[in-house]
Each structure stands twice: as structure tokens, then as C-alpha cells.
């Protein structure tokens, strides 16, 4: 049940070079969030920045009634978000959008996150494992300074790739997949990250006929399906990434 909430910030801390993790109270009247879904935050009552900012759920604890996001400091909106202190209230709307389909367990699951695509993938990995669906988790970033220092990440046994090789595999997540992961037509791949990565993931899955699901990022105005601003090109025409997405079957997307 999508709702507008005044959610209390429980913690907000820096976890890497420019990643932050914010956890908040989640009122159960707003229902549960699933991996891939997102929320929008009105970071300020001022008219600059104006629009609500979308962020994927990075964690959700139903019994504890908490939700978290992992975000990157990018511009004015996320800069304001960095300043939110525990105890402050946040104007949040969610859960929004669709979610990653759960692998039925027939074949191998592989979930890859590039950079700030981490949040929804981390949530998915934990969610699948809680349901006894084994999944290989891959995280790629520029260098060691971007590797998040938070428990959820460290306990999720990530296979780390860095562009400069300062930690783990040297290269991006797609090279890692190609060199280290064997998949077949029963495998399910999941991805969130830069467009080039999602496209690469899609190609890698297609090469053996595996399914792949990716979460895309488009600038949004309403986040609820009303404005038609956030569309992505799919085989069957434009689709709203906030409503029909943000998760799409990668083969349905018409890449630029």
C-alpha cells in the first residue's frame, strides 16, 4: 500500500568515499517493500531542489518496521540528505514501482551491482538467501575507497571488482562475469548500475538464453505514473520506469 509518510530517520552515515546509508522508521500501514522497489524523498520544504528524489530500497525489515537506502552524494538534493540527523523526520512516498521477480530456484542466480546500483541488489541478495535461493553477488566500483563499510554488505559475501584492481578482480562486473561465472539457459541474472553495464549484462545472459532483469534509472517528476516523464524505450513502446519499472526484463529494453 503506497503511502506518504513522515518517517523518522534512525541513522544516516557515510559508508564509503561518497556513499551514505540512511535508515528510517517504516510505518506498517504503508505495506512492505520488495527488492527493486523505490521510494521518493522530499529533501527540503524549499523550492530548490524542487522535485522529490527517488531512491531504491536497500533493506527492509518488516518486524522491526525499518527501511534503508544507500545513496551517493551527487548534487544539491543528496547533499541536503547527507545532513539529515537521527530523529529528524523525512517526507517519504513509497513503496513505488515493481520489483525483481524471484528465481524459482531451477538455475543459478547471479546479481550484479555497479556503483550506486548497490542498494537494490544488496536487498535482493539478502531477500533471496532468506528464501534459500542461492545467489552469487558481484559488486563493481572504481577503487577501494568506494567499497562500503557496512555490515549488510560485508556479510553478503560480495565478489568485488575494481576498475584499478586495488581490491578483488581488476576490471568491471561484465568482465568478471565473462571470466568467472558459468551460466546456462536456466540461470537468472539481476543487475543495477550504469546503462553500459546493464546492456553488457543483458548481452551476457542472451548469449546462453538466460533470463536477465535490470533496474533502470530515469529522471522522475511524479514517481507515481502520472507525468509520463520517466519513460524508457521497450520493444512494445515507451514504458514508465516508475510504474511498469524500474525493473524490466533486459531483452525488452531498446538500448540507445
Amino acid at each position: 500500500m503506497l503511502k506518504q509518510l513522515q518517517s523518522q530517520v534512525l541513522s544516516n552515515r557515510q559508508i564509503s568515499a561518497d556513499f551514505f546509508e540512511l535508515s528510517m522508521r517504516w510505518d506498517k500501514t504503508a505495506g512492505i517493500a520488495l527488492p527493486g522497489q523505490f521510494l521518493t524523498i522530499r529533501v527540503s520544504q524549499d523550492s530548490v531542489p524542487l522535485l522529490r528524489r527517488p531512491f531504491a530500497f536497500a533493506g527492509f525489515d518488516e518486524p522491526e518496521q525499518t527501511a534503508s537506502i544507500i545513496y551517493q552524494k551527487r548534487g544539491r538534493g543528496t547533499e541536503i540528505l547527507c545532513g539529515k540527523q537521527a530523529g529528524e523526520s523525512l517526507d517519504v512516498i513509497g513503496p513505488l514501482g515493481n520489483h525483481f521477480p524471484v528465481n524459482d530456484g531451477q538455475g543459478e542466480s547471479v546479481a550484479a551491482a555497479g556503483g550506486i546500483g548497490l542498494g537494490p541488489i544488496l536487498f535482493l541478495v539478502n531477500y533471496l538467501r532468506e528464501r534459500d535461493v542461492p545467489v552469487t553477488f558481484i559488486f563493481g566500483c572504481r577503487n577501494s575507497s568506494y567499497i562500503p563499510d557496512n555490515t549488510a554488505f560485508k556479510t553478503a559475501s560480495p565478489n568485488i571488482c575494481t576498475d584499478d584492481g586495488s581490491v578483488g578482480f581488476k576490471g568491471n562486473t561484465i568482465s568478471y562475469l565473462e571470466q568467472n561465472i558459468k551460466i546456462n539457459d536456466k540461470s537468472v541474472l539481476y543487475g543495477c548500475g550504469p546503462e553500459a553495464m546493464l546492456k553488457g549484462l543483458s548481452g551476457f545472459a542472451d548469449s546462453v538464453g538466460a533470463a536477465s532483469f535490470v533496474s533502470v534509472e530515469q529522471v522522475m517528476a511524479c514517481g507515481v505514473g502520472a507525468c509520463m516523464g520517466c519513460v524508457v524505450k521497450t520493444a512494445s513502446g515507451y514504458a514508465r520506469s516508475c510504474k511498469e519499472g524500474p525493473v524490466f526484463s533486459a531483452k525488452d529494453i531498446v538500448w540507445e
Partner: protein, 305 residues
């Protein structure tokens, strides 16, 4: 206290329950917001543009934030009049608010055909004619920039319907009062304004406009003073009701429009940010009336001389 305020607004032969509407293109078809706002508080829902054929809309990117505003180039994306009637109207007509179809077209016959088909649909309160669209037969210049075209289109549509006919004016003209008078002469029951202002944002790194359509329509708090000034001028140029909009984000903003001469207002971009705004704005207008001993909202209109 407890003074009751008459909030109703007369337009043509009909009455809106209250002066607060939600603007075309910013509220989808109502259902998108049903979990975030008690829709019964809205006086009217102005739908996304309805065209004869389905329109996919413009290329992406379609939106970019600007200082206290946003640019959009959605491009009238909608499923066409037939689907509007079969898929959107069944939900909309059950709502207690007035449902106003925002009608757009590329040629005069297209507007005519859309209105004819909508006349068959019950539960529709009236029409808001979006004349900001380029007229493909007239070299792509927007209908709404030429008083002759506006008057002709209005009088043609007037003959097709007894429902309230509202002409939505574009601010992208030299003298909006001339266009407003043309709508009145054509038989419009009201004019609404402002549609978005043409704007452009350039990405200097990529050396190209951010929006795929290059230009887009500016909306949000940044345009409010423009909308208020044009409402002030138009309401003095015509005797039909004026529905004001542009950057309304709270009751004070709405009151500025009403004091300037608007009979009713619409909330647009603010729905994206604060979906409860129609409710808080209406309550704020009511409180203001009570505080100023005004028993009917119509008395707010044009208090500013």
C-alpha cells in the same frame, strides 16, 4: 467560528463544488493519486491531454529540473480518445469531483472529432481545450497564438456541446488578452491560464540541449508571478470566469490568483512534490475566507483593483 463558506464556482451552466482543481498532465487520470489524496477534496480533475489517435510522446529525456521549476517535453503522450472513454472514464466518472477532459489536436477536425466522441461519454463535466498545440495545417504555429484561429475553433466546438467549454491559453504570446477575448467571442464559458512557458536548458559539457525535444514547457513556482500577472490582465479583459494556474504550491499562492481575478485555480507541478496540496490549499482558502468574514469564495475574486 464555524462560519460556513460557500466554495462553489459557477462556470457556464454548471457549478464546481470548490475552486481547487488539479492541472492537466500533472495528475494522470486520478487513480495514480488515489492512495495519496482523498480525491473527493478536488473540485475538478483536468485530465492529461486527450487526442484522436494514441500518441507515444516525445523522445527522452523529457524532463529536467530548473531553479524552482521544471521543464517538460512529454508531448501529449496519451492512449487516444477511444481508450480514454473505455479505460479511464469508468473510474473517473465514479469520483465526486468534476471531470474535465483536456482536449488537444494537430488540426481543427481532430479537435472536433475528439469532442464529438467525448460527447457520447457520460460522467464528463466539461472540456478544457488545449490550444498550445502546433497547428500542422497552419505551418505548425500554435492555435493559441492566433486570435482568429482561437475564435473559430471555439465557436465550432461550442456548437457541439452544452457542457462547459474552457479554453486554455498559452502565455507564449505578445498579448494574451487578445486571445482571451477571441475565446470569449467564440462562446467559451471560461478561460484557463497559464499553460507552460517555452524554455531550454543546455548541457554545456555535452554541448547540446538536455531535452531530446530541445525545448520544453516551464512550470512550477518559478512561473507563478507570470501566471498571477496574466490572470490579473485577462480577468479585466473578459467577463467570463478565469481559472488561474502556474506555480501554485500553497493556499497563499492560490489566493494570489483569486485576488488577482481568478474564479478557480489549478494545482499542477506541486502534485508531484506534495500530493496532499489540493486538500491543504482548499482548507487554506476556506480559513482565509472565514478569517476575512467572506461567506462566499466568489467574493475573493478581483479584490485587488
Amino acid at each position: 467560528m464555524g462560519m460556513s463558506v460557500d466554495l462553489s464556482v459557477k462556470i457556464g451552466s454548471k457549478t464546481l463544488p470548490n475552486p481547487v482543481g488539479v492541472a492537466s498532465g500533472t495528475f494522470g487520470y486520478g487513480s495514480e493519486y488515489e492512495e495519496l489524496l482523498d480525491l473527493s477534496c478536488a473540485g475538478a480533475i483536468f485530465t492529461k491531454a486527450v487526442t484522436l489517435e494514441p500518441r507515444v510522446g516525445n523522445d527522452i529525456p523529457r524532463i529536467i529540473e530548473t531553479p524552482s521549476g521544471m521543464l517538460n517535453s512529454i508531448g501529449l503522450a496519451n492512449a487516444g480518445v477511444k481508450k480514454f472513454v473505455s479505460e479511464k472514464m469508468p473510474y473517473l466518472k465514479k469520483l465526486p469531483c468534476a471531470i474535465v477532459a483536456n482536449v488537444a489536436g494537430a488540426t481543427e477536425p481532430e479537435y472536433i472529432q475528439v469532442v464529438k466522441e467525448l460527447e457520447e461519454a457520460d460522467g464528463l463535466w466539461g472540456y478544457e481545450i488545449n490550444v498550445s498545440c502546433p497547428n500542422v495545417k497552419e505551418g505548425g504555429l500554435a492555435f493559441g497564438t492566433d486570435p482568429g484561429q482561437v475564435e473559430r475553433l471555439t465557436s465550432t466546438l461550442r456548437k457541439l456541446t452544452s457542457r462547459p467549454l474552457i479554453i486554455k491559453l498559452t502565455p507564449n504570446v505578445t498579448d494574451i488578452t487578445v486571445i482571451a477575448r477571441a475565446a470569449q467571442s467564440g462562446g467559451a464559458d471560461a478561460v484557463s491560464l497559464i499553460n507552460t512557458l517555452v524554455g531550454m536548458v543546455i548541457d554545456v559539457k555535452k554541448k547540446k540541449p538536455v531535452l531530446a525535444a530541445k525545448t520544453g514547457g516551464l512550470s512550477g513556482p518559478a512561473v507563478r508571478p507570470v501566471g498571477v500577472a496574466l490572470t490579473y490582465r485577462v480577468s479585466r479583459a473578459v467577463s467570463i470566469p478565469v481559472i488561474g494556474m502556474g506555480g501554485i504550491s500553497n493556499a497563499d499562492d492560490a489566493l494570489q490568483y483569486m485576488l488577482a481575478g481568478a474564479s478557480a485555480i489549478q494545482i499542477g507541478t506541486t502534485n508531484f512534490i506534495d500530493p496532499r496540496a489540493p486538500y491543504t490549499v482548499l482548507e487554506g482558502i476556506r480559513e482565509y475566507c472565514v478569517g476575512n468574514d467572506i461567506d462566499t469564495v466568489d467574493r475573493l475574486r478581483g479584490i485587488i483593483s
